[in-house]
Structure formats: structure tokens, C-alpha cells
Amino acid sequence: MDPVVKVENVNKSFGDNHVLRNFSLELEPGENLVILGKSGSGKSVLIKCIINLMPADTGKIIVLDQSIQDMDQEELDILRAKVGFLFQSNALYDSMTVRENLEFPLRRHWSKEERERGSEMAVLEALEDVGLAHTIDMMPAELSGGMRKRIALARTLILKPTIILYDEPTTGLDPVTAREISNLMIEVQKKYNASSIIISHDMNCINITSNRVIMLIEGRCYANDTFNNLKKSTDPKIREFFA
């Protein structure tokens, strides 16, 4: 089968700051691909390029067999419905309740009748997936960090995406909650049969979730292997991460 995401020779710079240099990756269907790299190495920039939140300077990005750079807004919106994005800072809408947060992506992709009939169900289902159905009428400010992360995950799942991009899903959480979230990601992936790209520094999370790990160092793909093989590696640059 063709890869669901294909990034070819992408370059991205901000002024003199060359963040991505000829970076390439492929995400196979059903795979959990982890991207590992130092803070500021351009991991967030990379996945933002994948859904065209930031345009890449040069190179090709192909998602579900469509070139993301040649799309008009309409096509892009339709494609983005199939790609879930969990933001590093959760990006929950502060001024809306949990319910409204989850309903927001439906505004664009469901018709009015569909929403009247099905949105309540969809919201509840997504919330039950993350085990937080009781928070439906709360505001994001009333939730703890871990709960917010899970609500953000529920919002990502509401359109039943086939590709999920996770930007540091466990950073800033205690080890127990972090493990819960990692397990949740695996469950979700099985349930929706999704492929995902996961950005993480959390070795436990990587261990639980990853099928394959790519190391992003100085804008290039430095290593590409399974977690266990990388752990055994003697290369000092790789060892740094496992110290």
C-alpha cells in the first residue's frame, strides 16, 4: 500500500534559521511513527507543514495521495477533516464549554440537520473514548492539565480521522497520567484504524506507542529505526536521548 503521508525533501527556514533541511519521511498505513528531537529542532514546524498550517519553502508533501501544496481552500478543508491534530498547547477554546469545543469541528463538515441529529451522540462518544463524559458542560479553565489534554484528544477524534498528528501528547504530565494517555492513544488507534505521527521526548510513551522512530537532528533525518534498536545504538548523538 502507498504511504498515507509522504514528505519529500522539504526545506523550511525563518530568516537565517534553517529549521528543516531536505527532510523526508513516509508514514505507512496503520503505523505509529514517533519523531524524536531536541527542543527547537523543528518537530512542531514539520507537522504544521504536513497540514499546511505553515507552508513549506520547497519540497513535496503528499497526504492521502494528494499534494497538499496545490490545493485550494475547499479541498484543503476536506482533507483536514481526515487529519486530526493534537496541539502541543491543547488549543482548547477558552470561551467555550467542552461540548462546544467538541462541536466546533462539526460546524464545517456536517450539515445543519446532521448536527441536530448526531452531534450530541458524537460528542458523547468522543468523550467516552477518553473517559471524561461527565465534564461535558464544564469550561476548559475548570479542568486539570491532564483532563485538558484528553479533551483536546477527544476533539481531535470527533471527525474520526484516518491520520492523527500528536504534538507532545504527554509533556508536562505526571508519569501515571502520561502512561494513561499513551495507552489511550493505542486504543484510539485500534478503534479508528488510524495512522499516526507522534512527537515526543517521553521514553515511556515512545516505548508504548511507537512502531518506528525517526530522529530529527539539525533539520535532517538522522536515524530511522525501531525504538529497541535505537536504544541499543552506540552512536553518541542517539545515546544522548536515552541517557
Partner: protein
């Protein structure tokens, strides 16, 4: 000198960016699928946040202006002109400008901070990813809301300020309710009201655009949010005076004086 040029350059860049932002506003405004619910919501918020403050300041302005003007008019034996004089200066200048300044303070900073924190916490990106055009949903609704609400608020402020004037007149003298309003309406003409109404549309537009521009382009970090909020207030208030200056020239040229 180099510093001065640098500063100037920054200023001109910002002017250019605001111009681009305004052009984008008009482009997005005419695109289909209007966010009507969100627009009403924003109108409500603009009114809700500023009404008490606008009302109170208007009342005090009317009262104080009347009390302060009385001695001068008494000197010329023209105290019967008091209602007329006060209402004309309120409607023409004081009440629209004060209302606009209050809105620049409350709404401008509110929008700067709100949109700024939405930018910093990636909420604006999240909107874009979920297929809602954030410019249309957040910016267009807010700018249109301030543009529509400011004239309404300003009119309300006119009414309250003139009522304050009534109390002011009656502290020292006695003018009946009926006589007071007759004098006020005799003094006021459409030539006073309409230019001031048109002016407030522009005030509202400027406050909306500046607040949104500052917030939408907020820099990373919480410091960036604070800076967006304060500079939104400063620039919007300054613009209110600039527009006021231009408006007075135009009304003068058109012979509304």
C-alpha cells in the same frame, strides 16, 4: 539618527501591515457564509462590557459640563442659552469622543488580549485546522460588531449626558423638564447629529481593526499578549483623535457648521 530611521521604519511597516489587514478584512467580509450568530454574540459583548461605563461617564460629563459652563454664560447674561450650548457640544464632540475612548480602552484591550492569547495558545491554528476560517469567524465579526455598536452607544451616551445636563442646570437655577428638552431640540439640528453619527462608525471600525490586528498578530509568549493589549489601546485612542480631526475638517468643508 540611525535609531530614528529604525524607529520610523518600524512605524511605516506597521502602517503598511494595518493597511493590508484592513484590505483583507474587506475581502473576507464579502466572502459567502456569514457568521451571523457570532456577530450577534460580539455585539452583545461590546454592549455588555461598555454600557455601564459609558452611561456613568456620559452622565458625569453632562453634569460637570453644565456646572462648569454656567459662570461664563452668567457673565454674559446668557444663562438661558445653557441647555442649548451644553447639548450642542455634547452631541457634536464630547460624547462621541468619550464613548470612543472608553471603547478603545475596554474593547480594544479586550480584543488585543483575547485574540493574542488565542494566537499564542494555538487556538487560531486549531480553528483553521478544523475548517473554520479564523479571520472570518474572529476578525470580521468583531470589527463589524464594533462598527455597528459604537454609533448606538454614542447615541445612548448623548441622551444620558443631556439628561445629566438637565440635573446640572437645576442645581443652581430652575428649568422645567419640558422647557429644557424644548430648548435642547431647538438647538440641535440634523447637521449636528448626522456628522457625529458618521464619525462614530469610523471610530468603531478603527477600534475593531486595531484591536483585532494587534491580537491576531500577537508575538509568542504571555509578554506578547500583554503588549498586544496595551498597544491596541494606545493606537486605537490615537486613531480616534486623528479621525476626529479629519472629520471636523470634512464637516467644515461641507458646511455643516
Amino acid at each position: 539618527m540611525k535609531y530614528f530611521i529604525g524607529l520610523n521604519n518600524e512605524f511605516l511597516t506597521e502602517v503598511g501591515e494595518i493597511y493590508q489587514f484592513t484590505r483583507r478584512f474587506f475581502r473576507e467580509f464579502f466572502k459567502p457564509k456569514q457568521e451571523f450568530d457570532e456577530f450577534l454574540h460580539q455585539c452583545f459583548w461590546v454592549g455588555y462590557k461598555t454600557l455601564p461605563l459609558v452611561g456613568l461617564t456620559a452622565f458625569i460629563m453632562g453634569l460637570v459640563l453644565t456646572i462648569q459652563s454656567r459662570p461664563t454664560l452668567v457673565e454674559f447674561g446668557a444663562q438661558s442659552m445653557l441647555p442649548a450650548m451644553v447639548s450642542v457640544s455634547l452631541v457634536r464632540e464630547i460624547s462621541p469622543v468619550i464613548t470612543a475612548l472608553i471603547c478603545a480602552g475596554k474593547i480594544g484591550s479586550g480584543m488585543g488580549a483575547e485574540l493574542g492569547s488565542m494566537r499564542v495558545t494555538e487556538q487560531i491554528d486549531a480553528m483553521e485546522v478544523s475548517g473554520t476560517n479564523p479571520f472570518k469567524y474572529l476578525i470580521v465579526t468583531r470589527v463589524v460588531a464594533t462598527t455597528v455598536m459604537l454609533p448606538l452607544l454614542s447615541n445612548l451616551s448623548n441622551a444620558i449626558a443631556i439628561y445629566g445636563g438637565y440635573l446640572g442646570v437645576n442645581i443652581r437655577g430652575h428649568v422645567s423638564w419640558h422647557l429644557y428638552w424644548t430648548q435642547v431640540f431647538d438647538a440641535l439640528s440634523y447637521g449636528d447629529l448626522i456628522p457625529s453619527l458618521i464619525k462614530t462608525f469610523f471610530f468603531g471600525f478603527a477600534i475593531g481593526i486595531i484591536g483585532c490586528y494587534k491580537g491576531y498578530n500577537s508575538k509568542k509568549g504571555t509578554e506578547g499578549v500583554g503588549r498586544s493589549a496595551t498597544s491596541a489601546v494606545v493606537v486605537a485612542s490615537l486613531l480616534v483623535f486623528v479621525i476626529d480631526l479629519i472629520a471636523v475638517q470634512i464637516t467644515d468643508l461641507l458646511g455643516f457648521t
